[in-house]
Assembly symmetry: C2
Homo-oligomer: 215 residues x 2
């Protein structure tokens, strides 16, 4: 039995690999772990059976035997600890990677989500454009800080790690804006992530899954 | 040499223990680890020396010998792994605690931060009240989901854990609203956290530190 990842039955990103199953798929490909996917519809996501596994009615859920996990950051960390190649060998390096994983989820993703909310949920408000400008200023500040921290390095902490999976995926959600392009090193960082064979296999898998639903 | 935690020289919460050094102090008290504090001013926080340790110019930073960590979630996890009593012994329980730590930082805190931004940064905007109502609706949804997941349990995952430190601290940042009170089990959960001797020692320490600055 392979682990099972719960994914959108019909992803709102239409196969662009921006949903949160993507970092989990990518991590699985990096460590060479096969997996199955279980689709849920939007109705199923808010039903009792799913809420018992994912308290916020979202995807992904990761199931492996008795273990049921939610939160893509925690799932990627679990995969990284069980496999090899996604965490440094030394405790300090590992703690630094975990710090950047929390930074991706807690310091970068929230402003990206605010932008998505401003666009998709508040698009009809008369104050939409003003609010979007405030949010994009906050993102620009954070990206400036991130660009500075990355500097000339290829990856956030030494070699490629679980932190890069989370961070690259979050930055990809800004690809419809010009916010990333302002920082050549961040653009190159995202492209470096996307060039990894494991990313490409994960991307192709979610895309094929999305397209199959509409054959 | 004890580990050093970087804290606000003059915390904007005025000693209410809502800043992000508080979960770190609390975790240290739970595992019985002494620590030193190093204050930084708002000017110092944005200076080169601090940015090299905390890429977003925030607090806390945790330093222990050569190890320099940022992100309170990662620091609390590091303390939990080095000490005892904050993580279950079994790998599955531990992974569940990590999932709830990411949930606290990635699924609950962002809406709490949005409310703080709406109040403190957007308070003069003509659309302030409308925006605040939207944000409070989002918080209410999340708290409903959290209350449901907690149910009748005392803590998020079995015994008290590192996840409860993060979650209780985040919920405390809503104490100026009536959002928590709507859920008797969440109110009781926060009070249960605050009743722990380790919480009280940490709270007293940050309060004494704040007050000393103004003697």
């Amino acid at each position: 039995m392979h682990p099972v990842i719960t994914v959108f039955a019909a992803s709102p990103d239409e196969g662009r690999g921006l949903a949160r199953d993507m970092p989990v798929r990518w991590a699985m490909e990096e460590v060479g772990q096969r997996y199955e996917v279980m689709p849920v519809t939007f109705v199923e996501m808010k039903a009792e059976a799913h809420l018992a596994r994912q308290p916020f009615g979202q995807i992904p859920v990761f199931e492996e035997g008795e273990l049921v996990l939610f939160e893509s950051g925690a799932i990627v960390l679990h995969i990284a600890e069980a496999g090899s190649g996604l965490l440094p060998d030394d405790a300090s390096g590992r703690a630094r990677v975990v710090a950047w994983m929390f930074a991706a989820v807690g310091s970068i993703e929230p402003v990206v989500v605010q932008r998505e909310s401003a666009i998709y949920l508040e698009g009809d408000e008369p104050w939409h454009e003003e609010r979007l400008a405030i949010v994009e200023d906050r993102i620009a500040d954070r990206l400036g800080e991130l660009a500075r921290a990355l500097g000339e390095a290829d990856w956030l902490v030494g070699d490629f790690s679980a932190a890069d999976i989370l961070m690259v995926q979050i930055l990809r959600r800004l690809e419809d804006s010009s916010l990333i392009e302002l920082h050549a090193n961040l653009s190159a960082y995202v492209e470096r992530g996307k060039a990894r064979p494991a990313f490409q296999r994960a991307f192709a898998a979610q895309k094929a899954f999305f397209e199959r639903r509409y054959d």
